[in-house]
């Protein structure tokens, strides 16, 4: 386990030792909002595990009518246990189809269940899973989710297959999925199993792995369903989807502000994810290059360029950033090709060069790519992606020590001018509509009296001021518990400061109330650790993304596996016609 105690702020590999990047660089929200998926992202880790352990995924039930509505059950056998993916697909009026959490009906709803499902259990699932938040499940269910069709893609794909041809790859490059999930619930939501129930088990012990696997099975269902509907329409004349196009299909997801509070309420976990990623990067930066790896990186950069060229977004800011990435990757390619690689710390040189010449997007994309070069040194880090969020007070710490702690580790928060009118422009609140987290303008909208405590920076400022006033009266030897008995309202922030000061990376460094704050960066940060791609912002607070695009198919499990499926290129039309 990569623990804080063991962490020496450096990574050594062979002869060289390279420091981890500093917290003020890594935890800057602008940079976190430019992270890309990498080989220790949860999706990559899950696929490696599933492929290497040869999980078996079989039909147990496939009762769909000619429109694709009905019940499907996939039975999953791992080396450790048996699970069942139970899905209910129903007809949905177009007027009800929304990706918002406040929706009440979806094209399909599904659950991942530990163990086998008998008829009585199936009936309970049938009564509750389609209701999602309004239903109740028991602890045998470990993931609960729902999804909506991408109507245009779904219909176009069915139509193409029914006409005996393959769907248009160019359309799939624009929208690379048939279904979008709108929430994937784990960890005890609506009565399902708590995470500690599965944490100690090998299959889904890593954070979000059960949720990601459930999404993977939805992807399999989406392919089977669309082929089934096409076959019902056209019989033997219908085409099966070509494997290359199947692999190019992922699953979409729409995410809004609901993800943001998680990042703030799980600072240890976010610190741990950053620490693991940075350790991976430092390990690679410490290596001396060789020609074979340099050539591999050149290939990866070319692939990344093509992937970005085949990524289409409407959002002007993101479109511009993507354009810059494509152009700067070209320069990175030229720079790298001109270098004599053997025996040089070339990856560190590239990283340093990127830092001074190219955008944050390009820098972090390159970091994700160079991490690919040393799987033997990196993949073991995936086991360290978990962290406990329980913080304990250090009540006997003197206020003198505590003040040093704040001023050392939260200097970034103390530097914010909260007198400036823009510094508290926004407030976060939870709506009575499905308790959805939302962002309001403080001066304009009601609810300030019920503000969610996501204001870490402002909390630090207020705490520091109160501690200084208390010290002034009671002296430096007064303790944290003396202060808190007098001012119990500061307990949460005091405990958080004490706990996070012990970590390498600590907090996300941003004032989440500031007028200039882009919530998109928070969403992207978390999603990149999940391993998603094709960030397609629909606003500054809402993003569509794609998961598992390019990943091996269920039918690929058991065959040879090359963990090189990420950043897939758009298949050609020819790749499909032959399999009609």
């Amino acid at each position: 386990m990569l623990s804080e105690a063991e962490n020496t702020m450096e990574a050594s590999a062979g002869r060289a030792t390279v420091a981890l990047r500093p917290a003020n660089e890594v935890m800057d929200l602008e940079r976190l909002g430019r992270l890309h998926a990498c080989r220790i992202s949860f999706i990559r880790t899950l696929v490696r595990k599933m492929m290497r352990e040869r999980w078996r995924i079989e039909h147990r039930r496939f009762n769909l009518d000619r429109d694709g509505f009905g019940t499907v059950i996939y039975r999953v056998t791992t080396s450790e246990d048996v699970y069942n993916f139970v899905l209910f697909a129903q007809e949905l009026d177009d007027s009800q189809r929304t990706d918002r959490v406040i929706a009440n009906a979806w094209d399909c709803a599904f659950a991942l269940v530990q163990g086998d499902v008998d008829e009585a259990s199936l009936q309970r699932l049938r009564e509750n899973v389609p209701k999602q938040e309004a239903g109740r499940c028991d602890a045998s269910v470990i993931v609960l989710s729902r999804a909506n069709r991408s109507v245009r893609n779904f219909e176009a794909t069915v139509q193409a297959l029914a006409e005996g041809r393959q769907p248009d790859p160019a359309q799939l490059a624009r929208v690379g999925y048939l279904y979008r999930t709108t929430a994937v619930y784990g960890n005890g939501k609506f009565g399902i199993a708590d995470y500690p129930r599965i944490r100690e088990r090998g299959d889904f012990g890593l954070p979000f792995s059960a949720q990601m696997f459930t999404v993977y099975l939805l992807r399999h269902f989406s392919i089977e369903q669309v082929e089934h509907v096409a076959a019902c329409r056209a019989g033997d004349a219908a085409a099966r989807m070509a494997p290359a196009i199947r692999r190019y299909l992922g699953i979409g997801n729409s995410t809004g502000l609901g993800m943001a509070p998680f990042l703030i309420s799980h600072p240890r976990l976010i610190n741990q994810w950053a620490l693991v990623r940075e350790t991976a990067l430092a390990r690679v930066r410490a290596q001396l290059a060789d020609r074979a790896r340099r050539d591999r990186l050149l290939t990866l950069i070319e692939r990344a360029q093509q992937y970005m060229r085949e990524t289409f977004v409407d959002d002007e800011r993101q479109a511009h950033e993507n354009h810059v990435v494509i152009e700067q990757l070209e320069r990175a390619h030229a720079w790298l090709a001109a270098q004599e690689p053997d025996g040089r710390p070339l990856w560190r040189e590239l990283s340093d060069h990127a830092r001074t010449h190219w955008s944050l997007e390009t820098q972090e994309f390159l970091h994700s790519l160079i991490i690919e070069l040393y799987p033997g040194q990196i993949d073991e880090l995936e086991r360290d992606m978990g962290a406990s969020e329980q913080y304990d007070l250090v009540p006997d710490m003197t206020l003198g020590e505590f003040s040093v702690c704040i001023e050392t580790h939260y200097d970034w928060a103390l530097a914010i001018d909260f007198e400036h009118p823009d510094a508290e422009y926004f407030f976060w609140y939870r709506s009575a509509e499905k308790e959805e987290p939302r962002l309001g303008v403080r001066a304009e909208e009601p609810g300030v009296d019920r503000e969610m405590p996501l204001d870490v920076a402002r909390g630090v400022r207020r705490c520091h001021d109160a501690v200084q006033a208390y010290r002034h009266v009671h002296g430096d030897r007064a303790t944290v518990i003396d202060f808190l008995i007098d001012r119990p309202g500061f307990k949460a922030i005091v405990r958080r400061i004490q706990a996070m000061s012990q970590t390498t990376y600590g907090e996300i460094r941003a004032n989440l109330l500031d007028r200039g704050m882009l919530p998109m960066h928070l969403l992207r940060c978390k999603l990149s650790f999940f391993g998603v791609t094709k960030f397609d912002p629909r606003s500054s607070r809402w993003v569509r993304i794609t998961l598992f695009q390019g990943a091996p198919l269920v039918e690929d499990i058991g065959g040879d596996f090359d963990d090189d499926w990420f950043l897939p290129a758009m298949p050609s039309r020819d790749s499909g016609e032959a399999s009609t």
Binding site: D396, R438, I481, L484, A492, S539
Partner: protein, 254 residues
């Protein structure tokens, strides 16, 4: 109804927030309730019985009636330990860390059993603790003694019936906390039969087994209690407006 640990914790946290608990106390109070429930000691029922009292009066600040470096007597102001018990536990922890042994007595408080979960957290941080309190159960008195060894997860809880008709500890509604990082205090399993009868003994192994069962099966909570907690948590929610519905969550922002 069956609920998960995480779900109950989250709802309690928001219910306490709805009751006006300060940040930090909401987390500790929720953890206290759920710890007791998870370990088979009816945490939710204890909360339910004290809920009206909690809702009807604001928390009284802890007032230190006497204090030196290793001893403190605190007036709980008639509050539940959910409102301030964790700070009292941190006080005894801090004093014991500095002086090797400390005693803190909180007078005039209720829901004292709910402190168990927080004391278990203190124990995991390297502190041995003992907690002691008495309740009137006419015509007798019920004495409860909890001991925890440093770095261990679970306590031992003993309940005795005491024949003591005029007990100041009961009248004071006090709880006494004793802490030391150097030695653990063990209760006697064989108290003087003339004065005390052992009613119940819950060992660390019992607590561990019960906890494991809950992870597997979830928790059972009365629907009326759940609805009341939901109602309280609703005080933290903001009624939707057209603006908030349209752009608050982000889909149509900008």
């Amino acid at each position: 109804m069956k609920v998960s640990h995480n779900e109950l914790t989250g709802l309690c946290r928001r219910a306490f927030e709805g009751l006006g608990f300060p940040a930090g106390e909401t987390d500790d109070a929720a953890d206290m309730v759920v710890w007791l429930e998870q370990h088979g000691l009816r945490g939710v029922d204890t909360l339910w019985r004290g809920l009206d009292h909690l809702a009807s009066r604001p928390a009284a600040p802890l007032a230190r009636e006497f204090e030196d470096s290793s001893v403190a007597v605190i007036d709980g102001g008639g509050s539940s330990v959910l409102q301030s018990g964790s700070l009292a536990a941190d006080l005894v922890y801090a004093k014991a860390r500095r002086k090797g042994l400390a005693v803190v007595k909180i007078r005039n408080c209720y829901n004292r059993r709910l402190m168990l979960g927080y004391l278990a957290r203190c124990a995991r941080r390297g502190m041995s603790l003992m907690s002691f309190w008495r309740d009137r159960d006419a015509p007798d008195v019920i004495e409860q003694v909890v001991s925890l060894r440093a770095y261990e997860d679970f306590p031992t809880l003993l309940r005795y019936r005491i024949e003591d008709r005029d007990d100041t500890l009961t009248r004071n509604r006090s709880v006494t906390l004793i802490a030391s990082p150097h030695f653990a205090m063990l209760q006697s399993l064989h108290p003087d039969p003339e004065e005390a009868t052992l009613l119940e003994s819950v060992t660390p192994e019992d607590f561990a087994a019960q906890s494991q069962r809950v992870w597997q099966e979830g928790l059972e909570v009365d629907e009326a209690v759940w609805a009341r907690l939901k109602e309280l948590s609703g005080h933290t929610l903001v009624e939707p407006s057209e603006i908030s519905r349209r752009r608050g969550a982000g889909e149509d922002a900008d």
